[in-house]
């Protein structure tokens, strides 16, 4: 077995969400139960059964880090711009610039690249031929540019982040749908523990609030279609939940080995105690009916943290507001916590933010840490009609003041990839 394991701490934290341009604003709005869901204005939604989402205002972007770098604008997807904003905040709070050996600083990003636009489709139609595609015509007419290829590739975003923030260490791009942000953090944890880096920027970003990105979820009927008002649509664990609300955003943490953080006097927000992942191996389009994958991921995170289930004081749920997820996640939590299940608070940030897909695990990790440090349990808003099958303490509608020192954060991805992170208040 490996020698004594390195302790890994969070020394930087940043996010940009529909309810805040940074982590502080997001946390305060979440504490007050503010919803970021509204009528979509970023693309044409007329005729769609769902016309709402959680948008981030362009004016919230912090792109100072990218200023003056030629080509970045053309290569940058909206998801990457969101991530640059989140990483700028995280790197600033961690004083990442003060680390001298940049070969020992890496980037771990969960992201899926940019969707094609409707205009891309028209171009593809025009350049389609019976026996293939006129790629020459497609790319040379200027409309379907070289940069579309860049924005489509998720690893380009990782590389641009590495360049912008001068990280020459291990760089990885993780694609596991809604689990990607959490897995990116989990992988970064492993890299630091293994001594392959001193610090890692880790997180996720996503922007699917464009027609083609959005309509895919409309067509598989995953989105909420019945709501009295946009802000009421995301209602995790509520009996009247009927689908998730698509949102955009980004979340970033700076993870660092404890020794390294102490040596340079970095601020320490929390300790990353454990990480677990699993696969449902059930069906691509459905979660395991007994929640086996979710159970195993949580179990692994707890064991990895060297804890028992009795140590868990709060769970930041995946809580998507879909019928299936919320039911199965409740079942899985019960299996993990046993008779304590109804006494351990569980809440869903997606009730206010919506579902930011690859970003969600990273945003929720950040909010979990801020909740611990402020002794606040963020609420699950829109919890109005209890579902007898979802019968845990979901911190309904109002934030709660409660000191807590160990928390789990769940992320379950489409296709059946599951991830769970375990955070603890930092104690020397």
């Amino acid at each position: 077995m490996p020698q004594k394991r390195k302790r890994v701490v969070v020394t930087g934290l940043g996010m940009i969400t529909p309810i805040g341009k940074d982590s502080r604003e997001t946390f305060e709005n979440a504490r007050n139960g503010v919803s970021g869901v509204g009528w979509l204005s970023s693309f044409q939604t007329e005729g769609l059964p769902c016309r709402i989402g959680g948008q981030v205002s362009d004016s919230s972007f912090n792109l100072l880090a990218a200023k003056g770098l030629q080509g970045i604008e053309k290569c940058s997807s909206r998801g990457l711009k969101l991530m640059i904003s989140a990483v700028s905040e995280a790197a600033g709070s961690a004083r990442l610039d003060s680390i001298q050996d940049r070969d020992r600083v890496g980037v771990s990003l969960g992201y899926h690249g940019e969707n094609p636009s409707v205009e891309d489709l028209l171009l593809l139609y025009r350049h389609g031929r019976r026996d293939g595609w006129d790629l020459y015509g497609l790319t040379k007419n200027g409309a379907y540019s070289f940069f579309n290829f860049f924005r489509r590739k998720p690893d380009v975003a990782t590389s641009i982040l590495s360049i912008l923030f001068n990280c020459r260490g291990c760089s990885l791009t993780i694609v596991s749908a809604c689990a990607a942000g959490a897995q990116a953090i989990g992988e970064a944890l492993g890299i630091i523990r293994a001594g392959k880096a001193d610090a890692m920027i880790a997180g996720g970003c996503e922007s699917n609030l464009n027609f083609m990105g959005f309509v895919g979820f409309v067509l598989i009927r995953a989105l909420s279609e019945r709501y009295s008002s946009p802000e009421k649509a995301s209602r995790p664990f509520d009996r009247k939940r009927n689908g998730f609300v698509m949102s955009e955003g980004a979340g970033a943490l700076v993870l660092e080995s404890l020794d390294h953080a102490l040596d340079r006097g970095a601020p320490i927000f929390a300790e990353v105690l454990g990480y677990g992942s699993s696969a449902d191996a059930f069906r691509i389009t459905d979660v395991h009916p007994k929640g086996d994958g979710a159970v195993f991921a949580m179990q692994e995170a707890i064991v990895d943290a060297g804890l028992g289930s009795s140590d868990i004081e709060y769970i930041n749920a995946h809580g998507t507001s879909t019928l299936q997820n919320d039911l199965i996640e409740t079942l899985a939590i019960k299996k993990i916590l046993g008779e304590r299940a109804k006494r351990v608070p569980v809440s869903s940030n997606k009730s206010m933010i919506g579902h930011t897909i690859a970003a969600s695990g990273a945003i929720e990790a950040g909010l979990t840490i801020m909740g611990m440090n402020n002794s606040v349990l963020l609420p699950t808003v829109n919890y109005e009609y209890p579902d007898p099958k979802c019968d845990l303490d979901y911190v309904p509608n109002q934030a709660r003041q409660l000191e807590h020192g160990v928390a789990l954060s769940n992320s379950f991805g489409f296709g059946g990839q599951n991830a769970c992170l375990c955070f603890g208040k930092f104690h020397q």
């Binding site: 007329e46 760089s171 791009t173 489409f414």
Partner: protein
């Protein structure tokens, strides 16, 4: 020989060993067929026949007839996954079979699964009916028809064709792999990252066995265009898109004769990416703790003893810089506690100048030089699958002298292999087009035992 700085070495206490390899590529549907093809001097590069690729150079190293795997996947879902699914399933099935791992041998939750997955592309034909239904008489898109109604013609599952992890999840279903997992994307470094993660998970006791490997991109107009535009393949391979480049590369012809193409694809003359073609393939390794492998009487094919990673993008060609590649190699050597002089064989990740310079900077280039091999011209640029297939080839080829001269890179004479039948320690590199690079050290089976 230059010394390697020792820092944060993370020795593999019990050792993680390889007990199975599986591969499918343009030279065959198994690792045996692949090595036989390579040894006998075959090239996998042929003319693309399944679509008109004239604009794109017309040649690639495709997997023509991937092995059929029994699966109960719905045909519509299978279609969204395309050839990726076949490549991953075939490589995984062979690796498990060669490792002697059948159903019920390990608890499914003790089976880790990690892969680097090449880019997947949506199927344009899933989307175009919506456009066709919404055209105005002048052939332009009538947005008033598209948005309220036309969009309904889009195939509902089309986004699955853009998610690299869906095929991975299908393989986890097929082989009941429920343990720790992760998908990395999409280039050469991603395959090595998958192996590194598998080793870490085994060391930490989070899994008892782990599969790790990579899958290339499927050859399509889009993957060819992307590779050409990214500079992964040479101007000839993307002749149509490189029309403007012909003045600079007069050899670039879309209708290049096949015989000339084959000739060009065998000899890995360094310092150029000309005549490099895109390749299809999947490769998978089965990894286990040494004690566990011995306990169940598994054949031990080799071991894994070090990894190194770095990221720095060259301004000139978007590849990893010499410095970054050097850092990754040194990191792998350091973790394995090896000096450069103990490396017998280097499986190159590319033929780029940066990689060759980094290798020459670290390793002896005289009479005691390690053998340097590049399969990229014979098998094509296979992205995430490339380094894994290279590792499998290095462990499976029937003797070091079996590497034909035309896959060896200079200095090919006087290398140290004359004293050994098999490579004892192998350096495998994986290079990304975005500046990322990775290296890993693989030990030959004799060393492990």
């Amino acid at each position: 020989m230059k010394a390697i700085r020792k820092r944060d070495s993370y020795p593999l206490a019990d050792g993680v060993v390889l007990t199975g390899v599986g591969a499918v590529c343009s030279l065959g549907n198994s690792i045996e067929e692949t090595t036989q093809g390579l040894v006998s001097g075959k090239s996998g590069v042929t003319e693309i026949m399944d679509f008109d690729a004239g604009e794109l150079g017309g040649f690639a190293a495709q997997v023509k007839n991937p092995p059929a795997i029994d699966t109960d996947i719905h045909p519509q879902l299978a279609r969204t996954m395309g050839k990726h699914l076949l490549l991953l399933l075939a490589a995984t099935a062979e690796a498990l079979s060669r490792a002697g791992i059948g159903p019920g041998m390990f608890d499914p939750q003790d089976r880790g699964f990690f892969a680097g997955m090449g880019m997947v592309d949506y199927h344009v034909e899933d989307l175009l009916p919506a456009v066709i239904k919404s055209l105005d008489p002048g052939g332009d898109l009538d947005y008033d028809r598209f948005f309220p109604d036309g969009y309904r013609e889009i195939y509902p599952l089309w986004p699955l064709g853009m998610l690299n992890n869906v095929v991975f999840c299908q393989a986890s279903i097929q082989f009941d792999l429920r343990g720790e997992n992760c998908v990395f994307s999409p280039h050469g470094d991603a395959g090595i990252q998958a192996v590194a993660e598998a080793v870490k998970v085994l060391e930490e006791g989070k899994a008892k066995v782990a599969l790790a490997g990579g899958v290339s991109e499927e050859i399509s107009p889009f993957s060819l265009a992307r590779a050409r535009l990214k500079g992964l393949i040479g101007p000839q391979a993307g002749a149509g898109l490189a029309r403007d480049d012909k003045k600079r590369h007069p050899a670039g012809k879309a209708d290049k004769p096949l015989s000339a193409c084959r000739s060009a694809t065998r000899n890995p003359q360094p310092e150029t990416t000309e005549d490099i073609f895109l390749g299809e393939g999947g490769a998978m390794l089965v990894l286990e703790p040494l004690s566990s492998a011995l306990g169940r009487g598994a054949d031990i094919l080799g071991g894994i003893s070090g990894f190194g990673f770095s990221c720095e993008r060259s301004e000139e060609d978007n590849s990893a810089t010499r410095q970054a590649i050097s850092t990754a190699i040194r990191g792998a050597l350091s973790q394995a506690s090896l000096d450069p002089g103990s490396i017998d064989l280097i499986m190159l990740g590319s033929l780029r100048q940066n990689e060759l310079e980094a290798v020459r900077e670290i390793f002896d280039t005289g009479g005691d030089a390690p053998l340097m091999v590049s399969t990229v011209k014979a098998l094509g640029e296979m992205l995430a699958a490339g380094p894994i297939l290279n590792a499998a080839i290095a462990l499976s080829i029937p003797g070091l002298t079996s590497f034909p001269p035309d896959v060896q890179c200079p200095p090919a004479e006087g290398h140290k292999l004359r004293g050994h039948s098999y490579p004892r320690r192998i350096l495998v590199n994986g290079i990304s087009s975005e500046g990322r690079c990775a290296s890993m050290i693989v030990q030959g089976g004799g060393e492990t035992k």
